[in-house]
């Protein structure tokens, strides 16, 4: 280990334990600070101030997270996971890994929103909602009890509903928000019911205790209750990750929401759903794969994964609206990440690899998908139009951003030499080595299909001739531009950095199965 790591690690280990929650606290405080500023000087539209404050908060949280990750906080090398509040909270490698995803996506979205919200009232609301949602997600990552899981999930969801409907005068935005809220309420009910059933069987809400209970006595005559509970909880996560058949809200919400919010929801919110699903199922429900009668939730996730990959990619192929296409493609990507749960087996030697690969995919996906939606945000900002035809010839006006968009598209499709290729490859390869070659095959086939609709975007912006609607483009929004370029750079930089990311993810995932 190199000396700087040693010193930072030493410095970190001197901090009190509660500081492990540092990123969450920073995010929450930033949100409160925004409200305070707005309360002291209301009606003063200080978009830039708010953006700077919230971006600073997100970046500080990101910095702390990365520092902890490097220093080894809560990881195997430094005494294992840190538990707080009677084990309701746990900080470990996986939590930090995902917090890094949330905070980076949040930072990108904030920078991009600055231009998007120019001349908008109540921008403080927007930023504080964004910060609170991020806080909720960060809390999801550290939840170690079904109660904290539910509360943090709601904490992330409620601001999201408001964010989707932020364009109050836009009917699409409001309608999307309402639908999102209604489906969310239904799913929350299902999820909560599932939790109650699990509590009924095990008498505990702590993941570790649930796991011990299942491992000790099996389900002892309560297979039906436990099984329905597990599947209902799975349904709740499927909603959060926009997996089929809980995906219906996603295309509408992503399309109706302001594009930066779509970016935020489809990247960070989805990742948050996955982190908590990973933790709950890997930590609490692992023994259920072995009990008799079997509660084979891995198979259920396999079904969901296949459905999600197929439905997401197929539906994306028929869309004419680019934003809606991306919405469906993000459903498809949820299917890929679901492989991380579907390919788990009881005591399987590849469990850590599979889940780690899914985590790494979510990391890369976080950047490329955010970038792609931010590009849409820029196009919306210009008011060019929404369909593939409207995008024709954009590269003549904004070549740099279009290069970035091409990078995102090809990376999302998983073409070699782009980050998305390596993560998909690692994911499929680990699924194959775990014996789930058919999941990998479905993934590969649907990826091939996805190339079709992703390349349509690239074709439109680079090859086709503009059809005269591009004159409306006047300015180049600096913040949006910077965020897009940064996301592209991160997507590209994750090429050489991918082995490190994958290694970190696999180590973090393996710790769950230890």
């Amino acid at each position: 280990m190199d000396p700087t790591v040693v010193t930072t690690a030493a410095l970190q280990s001197q901090l009190p334990e509660w500081t492990a929650l540092g990123p969450v606290i920073v995010l929450g405080l930033t949100g409160l600070l925004l409200l305070t500023i707005d309360a002291i000087w209301p009606k003063r539209n200080a978009n830039t101030t708010y953006a700077i404050v919230s971006a600073a908060g997100a970046i500080i949280a990101l910095g702390i997270t990365v520092w902890y990750l490097v220093a080894g906080t809560g990881q195997e090398t430094h005494g294992g996971a840190i538990t707080l509040f009677s084990e309701a909270i746990v900080v470990d490698g996986m939590a930090l890994f995902f917090t890094a995803i949330f905070t980076s996506v949040a930072a990108l979205v904030i920078v991009a929103s600055h231009d998007y919200l120019k001349g908008h009232e109540n921008s403080a609301e927007f930023y504080s909602l964004l910060m609170f949602a991020t806080t909720g997600m960060a809390l999801m990552a550290v939840s170690n009890s079904l109660v904290t899981v539910f509360v943090s999930l709601e904490m992330a969801s409620l601001p999201s509903y408001a964010l989707v409907g932020f364009l109050k005068k836009d009917r699409g935005s409001v309608e999307a928000s309402l639908k999102y809220f209604l489906i969310g309420a239904l799913s929350s009910a299902v999820f909560l019911f599932g939790i109650s059933l699990i509590y009924a069987v095990t008498g505990s809400l702590l993941l570790t205790e649930i796991s011990a209970q299942f491992a000790d006595g099996g389900v002892a005559g309560f297979a039906g209750v436990a099984g329905i509970g597990v599947l209902m909880i799975a349904g709740g996560f499927a909603y959060k990750t926009a997996s089929v058949p809980f995906h219906f809200w996603a295309p509408e919400a992503y399309e109706g929401a302001p594009a930066p919010v779509s970016a935020f929801l489809s990247s960070a919110s989805k990742a948050a759903g996955f982190v908590v699903a990973f933790r709950v199922f890997a930590e609490a429900f692992m023994p259920l794969l072995e009990v008799t009668p079997a509660i084979d939730w891995a198979l259920a996730f396999a079904v969901l994964a296949v459905l999600t990959m197929v439905v997401g990619n197929f539906a994306a192929a028929t869309q004419e609206n680019v934003k809606r296409m991306l919405a469906y493609s993000s459903i498809g990507h949820a299917g890929y990440a679901l492989i991380g749960l579907a390919a788990l087996t009881a005591g399987g030697p590849h469990n850590g690899d599979v889940m780690g690969a899914a985590m790494a995919h979510l990391l890369i996906y976080g950047f490329m998908n955010t970038g792609a939606f931010l590009f849409i945000a820029m196009v919306e900002y210009w008011g060019v139009g929404r369909t593939f035809e409207d995008y024709a010839g954009l590269s003549q006006k904004a070549p740099l951003a279009c290069v970035a968009m091409a990078v995102f598209m090809f990376s999302l499709a998983g073409l070699p030499v782009f980050g998305g290729f390596f993560s998909k490859y690692a994911l499929f390869a680990s699924a194959v080595s775990a014996g789930f070659w058919w999941l990998a095959a479905v993934g590969a086939v649907t990826s091939a299909l996805s190339l079709y609709y992703y390349s349509r975007v690239v074709k439109a912006i680079w090859i086709e001739e503009p059809n005269g609607n591009l004159d409306v483009i006047e300015s180049k929004p600096t913040g949006l531009y910077a965020a897009i370029i940064f996301a592209a750079v991160a997507t590209v930089l994750l090429l050489p950095g991918f082995p490190i990311a994958l290694e970190t993810a696999e180590a973090a995932a393996s710790a769950l199965f230890a």
Binding site: L32, L35, T36, D38, A39, I40, P42, N122, G224
Partner: protein, 137 residues
């Protein structure tokens, strides 16, 4: 086997109302009349359509704030009951601190909402317009 009981309960639960409705449909005479199909509004004659019926948005704002502080009270009450004991066990910082933090967070929210005009009763544009029209007349 225990599921049979639940199944039976479900059958009975669905069966009784369906059976009663079926029985009455068979027995009763059919005399359609306008008064029977009208919406019951406590004896008032209904006017307009159900869809155009709107509350002022401010009602929800106040209701929301009320719910928030109502729940806060529910949480604070048991805390207050055990407060003295808690201080003895964990000390005043750990007993009082979290609650102050909680109330502080709520307070920030309240102040923000107040300053942004959540509790000042605004009038809907339509009501304002109607009032001015009446004034003109």
């Amino acid at each position: 086997m225990s599921w049979i009981a639940i199944g039976a309960l479900a059958v009975v639960g669905v069966g009784i109302p369906l059976g009663m409705m079926a029985a009455s449909a068979l027995l009763r005479p059919s005399v359609p009349e306008q008064g029977k199909s009208a919406t019951y509004e406590s004896g008032e004659i209904p006017t307009g359509t159900a869809r155009s019926f709107k509350f002022n948005i401010q009602y929800y704002m106040v209701a929301l704030l009320f719910v928030v502080f109502d729940i806060e009270t529910v949480l604070v009450f048991p805390w207050a009951v055990i407060y003295s004991d808690a201080v003895e066990v964990v000390g005043i910082t750990r007993a009082l601190g979290p609650m102050l933090l909680f109330i502080g967070i709520l307070l920030i929210g309240l102040v923000w909402a107040w300053r942004n005009g959540a509790v000042s009763w605004t009038k809907s544009p339509r009501a304002t317009r109607r009032k001015t029209e009446r004034g003109d007349a």
